[in-house]
């Protein structure tokens, strides 16, 4: 029992430290807000005029909003691993690794903290939707659902990012590979166009892509008239399972950064 509560506190310790850093310097949160704004205000406005994108009764801009939220959570989380490399170079990482905290608690703590960045992106997207006059669902049940899926998405992609960092080990290589990974995850998903428009092979790829499940759930939860196509319980199960696997892998690779 006390081991379990220690475990919880250790996750909280790592996460709280990260959140405090954001509080000391929140410039990052502000600059991150620019990207979803550009996608919705520039890309979305133009693409909404394209008649070829059939979104099954949903207005394209409405369709786009949950996609851009999923995408911006991805973009923020996918570079999270650079912190791991930076902490290794500085020596901060060694302090974590010599502590008795289980390695999975360290990884989970980092993942949890990245959800805060995800939530700030969500707030930006909701404000933009309000400005654009897009009707979103504000039912408490749906809002809670959105929070859960953003937390899952941020945790999942940031843990994936930590794994990549543990493999490539240097900042230069990480930045290069980060760019290479982000675009396929984004484009091979349902974020900015429906899957049924894709060629068959890409449809299969997109069903293996966690972002597809994130955006599918967000659409069902955020838009009052759209239902999830995959089903929210399935979305949730797929994401939780992927997250657990990624945490297990990251917990094994993370200690190698201290060597």
């Amino acid at each position: 029992m006390s081991a379990l509560s220690d475990y919880g506190w250790q996750i909280f310790a790592v996460s709280d430290a990260e959140v405090r850093k954001l509080r000391h310097d929140s410039v990052e949160l502000v600059t991150r807000a620019v990207q979803p704004a550009l996608w919705l205000l520039l890309f979305g406005q133009v693409m909404a005029q394209v008649r070829g994108i059939t979104t099954q009764g949903t207005n394209y801009l409405d369709f786009l909003v949950p996609g851009i939220l999923g995408q911006s959570v991805l973009f923020v989380a996918i570079f999270y691993g650079i912190n791991t490399i930076w902490e290794r170079d500085m020596g901060v990482l060694h302090r974590y690794l010599v502590s008795p905290a289980p390695r999975s608690a360290l990884v989970l703590g980092k993942a949890l903290s990245s959800t805060v960045r995800g939530f700030s992106q969500a707030m930006v997207v909701y404000v933009l939707a309000l400005i654009l006059g897009i009707q979103l669902s504000y039912q408490p049940r749906n809002i809670i659902g959105v929070i859960v899926f953003i937390a899952l998405a941020a945790g999942l992609f940031s843990t994936f990012s930590v794994i990549v960092a543990c493999i490539v080990r240097t900042r230069e290589r990480f930045l290069g590979i980060g760019q290479v990974l982000t675009m396929p995850i984004f484009f091979a998903s349902n974020a900015i166009y429906p899957i049924h428009l894709m060629p068959r092979w890409l449809q299969i790829v997109s069903r293996l892509n966690p972002l597809t499940y994130v955006v599918d759930a967000l659409r069902g939860l955020m838009l009052p008239t759209t239902v999830s196509r995959i089903g929210i319980p399935t979305d949730c199960a797929v994401l939780v399972a992927s997250f657990v696997i990624l945490v297990a892998i990251a917990a094994r690779l993370y200690p190698r950064m201290g060597e």
Partner: protein, 271 residues
């Protein structure tokens, strides 16, 4: 059983080795650090001091041989070892984006120090390191000596049996060095902690350490108290003479680009 365990050395290694590819960083090191002593590992850059200390802190698995710290095996019982050691790495382990207090809080939580004791322990450790007033400031604005003091405070918060410090005074100015040394001595006097320190500063080793092991090319060349080692060389010898006698005075290869870069980076960051 109890009497045996209290007599067990705080750190004991047997033919401990670590290879990186073809390079043998630590070769067959067998040594013992007695409880309560300040033990110095000295040697030139690239001698294997950091690699050895990383194995003892469970950060790096040995290639062969065994090591026990505070009575537990560093590989099979790594979690038990971690509960009982403090480690001050050569690099900057305090997070510069947090305040001194927040760094302490993070450590206290990672070591699962009970909540009711936490505030008092943090206050005591900060005060012992003379950081009470600076605790609310970001570490970014600390001097090098203050950062080292904070790192030592973080490392002793859970009252470790063995405190390991890798080059604790590297990159510090003479006054900060003196302050760190005084604090280390005070810690030993008040808490009776065993300490393992690496350094390439002979004066520091002479002044601080009860016993010294001289490392060279991954091996321990000689072990003894500073006085014993000096007596082995010639009457009136200094530790520098001991160093020259056992290791020679030519510049040694080794250390490597990355190590040199990190050492200089840590010096720059300390200013």
């Amino acid at each position: 059983m109890a009497t045996v365990s209290t007599r067990e050395p705080a750190v004991v290694t047997e033919t401990l080795s670590r290879r990186f590819g073809d390079l043998i960083a630590v070769a067959d090191v067998s040594m013992a650090v007695l409880q309560g002593e300040i033990f110095g590992l000295i040697g030139p850059n690239g001698a294997g001091k950091t690699t050895l200390i990383k194995m003892l802190t469970t950060l790096l698995p040995p290639s062969s041989g065994t090591a026990r710290v505070a009575g537990f095996d560093v590989v099979a019982q790594a979690a038990e070892v971690r509960k009982r050691i403090g480690y001050v790495p050569q690099l900057l382990s305090a997070d510069r984006s947090l305040t001194g207090y927040e760094n302490m809080l993070l450590s206290a939580r990672l070591y699962a120090i009970p909540r009711r004791e936490r505030a008092q322990r943090i206050a005591e450790a900060l005060s012992a390191m003379n950081l009470t007033e600076a605790a609310g400031r970001l570490v970014l604005h600390y001097s090098g000596g203050m950062i080292r003091a904070l790192e030592i405070a973080q490392s002793m918060l859970h009252r470790p049996k063995v405190l390991m410090m890798d080059e604790p005074t590297v990159g510090l100015d003479p006054i900060a060095r003196r302050v760190v040394r005084d604090r280390v001595r005070a810690l030993r006097a008040t808490l009776g902690m065993t300490m393992l320190i690496t350094t390439h500063d002979m004066g520091e080793a002479d002044e601080l350490c009860d016993r010294i092991a001289l490392m060279h090319n991954g091996r321990i060349e000689v072990t003894g108290s500073p006085a014993e080692l000096k007596a082995q060389v010639e009457p009136g010898a200094t530790l520098d003479d001991v160093f020259a006698h056992f290791i020679g005075v030519e510049i040694q290869p080794g250390g490597g680009y990355r190590e040199a870069q990190l050492a200089r980076q840590s010096i720059r960051e300390h200013r």
